[in-house]
């Protein structure tokens, strides 16, 4: 296989992988606010890339503390996020990216409506391409089954509006208010025309002092959110459109997100942990030269008991476009 063919498959695989990251890092419905950023991975042989996406998150009830699904008819809560991302290759194996979401909250309760908007939490990421997928076409030996491995840290920067800022209503928040350091790993294996991706992440929030809650000064305390584990497994099929090089990639995925209990002044806060499991699908179109790509994805939280704890049940629809500079 020549270098260009390999780059194509890696592009396609990483495109899918990057799309899968969206529901992992996005946080919650508008009732409990927060626009988390999106990780952005630059395909091989690209120098830089711009990514623009829009998330539409619809609130469909919640899972309570016992994992029971509770429908809430009459609640019309939406959060829209526009994510602007830029990735830059630093060396042949290292790359960096930054993503900034802008968040709009639309909250319609039976007795209360509100709208707000603001910047969400920013994500700054570094990626190291530890191993390439050396055989995307044919398996000749067991070694050819070893996937491409991309690893790196990311930092969530609390640029959003959080409960600890000058905001008086809980429905107006656009971020969580904490720095978070994540370790990420992306495993990807392509055997034409199939591709499988496993994305995993473990993150820890940094403890911070708090002296106000929703614009109300309180006796200061120290707070830390719980460590966060996320994983997403996906399977993709790449389909050629006509005789040209345009491709359509279909992806099915399942994702898991868990956040442990946080702490207040070092004591465990038993009310704060949550869990969420979702299924999803995505379709991505890539132009012949692969510089342009467009994607549509859907992340669905299953509205049944046991698929989550202490978390809003939402659907997230994403439209995205990106352009890569070689």
């Amino acid at each position: 296989m020549n270098e260009h063919s390999l780059s194509f498959w890696l592009c396609a695989a990483l495109l899918v992988g990057a799309a899968l990251f969206t529901p992992l890092t996005a946080f919650a419905g508008s009732c409990c606010g927060g626009g988390g950023g999106v990780n952005l991975v630059l395909p091989k042989f690209y120098e830089s890339m711009i990514d623009l996406s829009v998330d539409i998150e619809q609130y469909n009830g919640l899972w309570n503390n016992d994992g029971k699904y509770i429908d809430q008819p009459g609640y019309h809560l939406w959060q829209y996020r526009m994510n602007v991302g830029y990735a830059q290759r630093l060396t042949s194996r290292w790359q960096a990216s930054v993503t900034v979401p802008y968040v709009w909250n639309y909250n319609g309760y039976p007795n209360k409506t509100s709208r707000s908007d603001g910047i969400g939490d920013m994500t700054l990421s570094f990626w190291y391409e530890a191993r390439e997928d050396r055989s995307a076409w044919k398996i000749r030996s067991p070694g050819d089954l070893i996937p491409a491995v991309t690893i790196g840290p990311s930092l969530i920067i609390p640029t959003g509006i959080s409960p600890y800022d000058g905001v008086s209503d809980s429905t107006d928040v656009t971020g969580r208010g904490f720095y978070r350091l994540d370790g990420n790993i992306l495993l990807d294996k392509t055997i034409h025309p199939w591709s499988a991706t496993l994305a995993m992440s473990y993150g820890t929030y940094l403890e911070r002092p708090v002296n106000q809650e929703y614009s109300k000064f309180v006796e200061p305390y120290h707070k830390k959110l719980g460590d966060r584990t996320s994983a997403s497994l996906s399977l993709s099929y790449i389909y050629y459109l006509g005789s040209g090089g345009d491709t359509l990639t279909g992806t099915a995925s399942c994702s898991y997100l868990n956040e442990e209990n946080g702490t207040i002044d070092g004591r465990q806060d038993a009310t704060s942990g949550f869990r969420k499991e979702t299924v999803g699908g995505a379709i991505a179109y890539s132009s012949t030269d692969h510089d342009w790509s467009f994607r549509v994805s859907w992340s669905h939280a299953v509205r049944h008991d046991g698929w989550g704890d202490n978390f809003p049940t939402t659907d997230i629809y994403t439209l995205g476009v990106r352009y890569g500079f070689r």
Binding site: N64, P110, N111, K112, I119, N211, E213, K216, S272
Partner: protein, 185 residues
């Protein structure tokens, strides 16, 4: 990344860092800025007399705060503001298991400020599993109590038998509420 791109990235981050309210999170402060209050005044702050209100509970009974607070045998009154969200459920569930049993002389009210009527609040109460618990759910359909106490989701207010506010902040892990309940006059 060349130096020009680094400078652009830093510029964008600096602009963002200077925007609006986010500086409290980027550079969080632990200094105590709770303003002093004038004793004997009425208001939502700790140390002030609790503003009075009358609301309907979900069974249609009228509840006046000043009457509830001064009822014989009531040592304290807790108001918890709920919009029936996941964290609200987590707080209320935790309060029922970790706090209510230890303070039999305290009344617990859940103030529903998002339902449009007492009947809607009753449906939300039943759906969330709080019917028949220690919480009396009040339908704050005009958001009267919400505004009087400058409250939002999770705000927890403790009022002593003299009508003085002893706590008005987020529930968090409930430890501060339990401490304040223990120290009730």
């Amino acid at each position: 990344m060349d130096s020009a791109n680094v400078r652009r990235l830093l510029l964008v981050m600096c602009i963002l860092a200077g925007c609006g309210n986010m500086t409290n999170d980027l550079y969080p402060s632990g200094s105590n800025k709770v303003p002093p209050v004038q004793p004997g005044t009425i208001g939502p702050a700790v140390g002030q007399f609790a503003p009075d209100f009358t609301l309907s509970d979900t069974l249609g009974n009228s509840v006046t705060l000043s009457t509830a607070v001064t009822t014989t045998g009531v040592q304290g009154t807790v108001l918890y503001f709920t919009m029936w969200c996941p964290i609200c459920d987590s707080h209320m569930s935790h309060m029922l298991s970790a706090t209510v049993p230890g303070f039999p002389g305290v009344r617990f009210f859940a103030v529903d400020y998002v339902s449009g009527s007492a009947a809607d609040a009753r449906n939300a109460e039943i759906s969330a599993g709080y019917a028949g618990t220690a919480f009396t759910v009040l339908a704050d359909t005009q958001q009267t109590a919400l505004n009087l106490y400058q409250a939002t989701m999770g705000t927890t207010v403790l009022i002593d038998r003299n009508g003085v506010i002893q706590m008005n902040e987020d529930y968090k892990d409930g430890a501060r509420l339990r401490t304040a309940l223990t120290e009730l006059p």
